[in-house]
């Protein structure tokens, strides 16, 4: 079943989170992402961590899979972190060399940024780990429906997403086939300078492009043959319905994030008093 899913991110399981309505999951995810940026102290991070643990527990996704999803952007996170260390202007200089200045404030800021990014990715991954791409497409189409009032092509967008999802594995396979066919004719993709390596992709890209146009053509024909006429009078087999799980999930999320927002407003209003408190650095 693993291999059945495109993008490979979905982890099939029958959990509380898996069974939640994908629309609710998307909305809660957005709330989560916003909430992360309201964290004003390390207490906040602890709360988020707790929330994530609860979510992972109830999604039955192995922690290993969750961590693996972060691996991908770890490099990006590291770079962001390092850049921030160097370019954030702080006051307490810890170390300097030439034009590079590292301040305590920069380290703290950078540390926070890294933590935020990691939490962000883990949270977003939980969404894709527990929701099939098909369900995500359905959910997005449903959530964006109000936009049809301003003539935004919601249906077409959802269709394009769903078609892209279906064709990704086919296109990947075809690329592989073309690469092998050109390799059999002596093509090499791992030698030479930047320019020759770029040129080496032409025998891959052109057949792929031509083939994609042909596929699109044939697909359009097949869709027409099956009475496709756009979104007018279309019905759907899959109905997204809310259940008690969505209510519970929303409440739990609300509780956690109320805590964060409360914490945020406390700290903001108490800002002038912080430096006087012990362990004041915790409150940033």
């Amino acid at each position: 079943m693993f291999r059945d899913v495109t993008l490979g991110q979905y982890y099939p399981a029958d959990s509380f989170v898996h069974r939640m309505d994908p629309r609710i999951k998307i909305l809660l995810n957005i709330l989560y992402l916003v909430g992360i940026f309201f964290i004003k102290s390390y207490f906040g991070f602890v709360i988020v961590l707790l929330f994530l643990c609860v979510a992972i527990l109830f999604s039955k996704v192995p922690v290993g899979s969750v961590i693996r999803s972060v691996k991908g952007i770890l490099v990006l996170v590291a770079i962001t972190g390092i850049l921030n260390v160097f370019f954030y202007t702080g006051e307490t200089v810890l170390w300097s060399w030439w034009i590079i200045v590292i301040t305590k404030e920069a380290l703290i800021f950078s540390g926070q940024m890294i933590l935020r990014l990691i939490f962000l990715v883990v949270g977003a991954s939980l969404l894709t780990l527990t929701t099939t791409p098909v369900d995500l497409t359905h959910a997005i189409e449903s959530l964006l429906k109000p936009l049809t009032l301003i003539k935004f092509p919601v249906h077409e967008l959802a269709l394009i997403m769903s078609l892209a999802l279906s064709f990704i594995p086919t296109l990947i396979e075809e690329t592989d086939r073309i690469v092998r066919a050109q390799k059999a004719r002596g093509a090499a993709f791992d030698t030479g300078g930047l320019v020759s390596r770029a040129k080496a992709f032409i025998p891959i890209l052109i057949p792929l492009l031509v083939s994609s146009f042909r596929r699109a053509d044939e697909l359009a024909l097949a869709m027409n043959a099956r009475c496709y006429e756009g979104s007018t009078n279309r019905t759907k087999m899959r109905k997204l319905t809310l259940s008690w799980r969505d209510l519970v999930g929303t409440l739990v999320t609300a509780v956690f994030f109320t805590a964060i927002f409360v914490l945020y407003s406390w700290i903001t209003s108490a800002a002038p008093l912080i430096p006087a408190l012990p362990y004041s650095w915790l409150y940033i």
């Binding site: 073309i178 066919a181 050109q182 390799k183 059999a184 004719r185 002596g186 025998p203 083939s211």
Partner: protein, 283 residues
Amino acid sequence: MPVVVKNLNYTYNPKTPFAKQALLDVNLTINDGEFIGIIGHTGSGKSTFVQHLNGLIKLTDGEIIVNDINLNDKKVDYLKLRSLVGMVFQYPEYQLFADTVKADIAFGPKNMKLPAEEVNTRVSEALKLVGLNEEEIGEKSPFDLSGGERRRAAIAGVLAMKPKILVLDEPTAGLDPMGKREILQLMAKIRAEQNATIIMISHDMNEIYENVDRVAVFVNGTIKHDMPTEELFQKVKIEEYGLEMPAMAVIKKKLSKIGVVINGRTVTEVFNEIVKAKGGKNV
């Protein structure tokens, strides 16, 4: 010099939950100038096997020697190997990419770093060999050709590398009867003119029966049978492997059961033989 394959094993995605053993202890020796057919149900390992011969799939377990190249060497010259073993994939017309047919055919020779003049000569020869007119077709875009022409142009692209061993994966797939005939005639021509060793994967048992000298039957990743064509279709019950008996072989088998031995493999040959056999008896 022959192609020697010994104890070849291959597993896709080893050490993962998706591991799949595609080849199990495959042994095969192909001699110079042979025309060998490779048959077997879909997924039996045919493609995996042939892709080892030109290094598209790297040898991980076993021994393969192609002419004098040992694929277990630390540094295998894959360019040399691929000029030696030419491979035509299924629906090869889908790999055409250049502005003109000539430029596409030149791709192989150019990759071999041959001098420009040599490249041009080879392109002309390849076009001639596949029966495409150089003036008419050469400067056209490959995408403007008919389906049959595109396939021949793609094959020319491989032939231009002058491989001593030619591997064809279902060369007649998707073609109508006339198209199939043309490709098979082309293969006969290549054999006659270049004395190349030809390895053909096919699902068309009639085609296999009428053209190849020897057949290797792949079943679940291993070669179950390896013998001359005639012998295979008379002795082995290939229906058990999900394959269909060639029409003429069915008839000959039935006749051999009553003691009448008929030679020949095409309809015409079998017909002549039956007439001869009849002539020897009083009816």
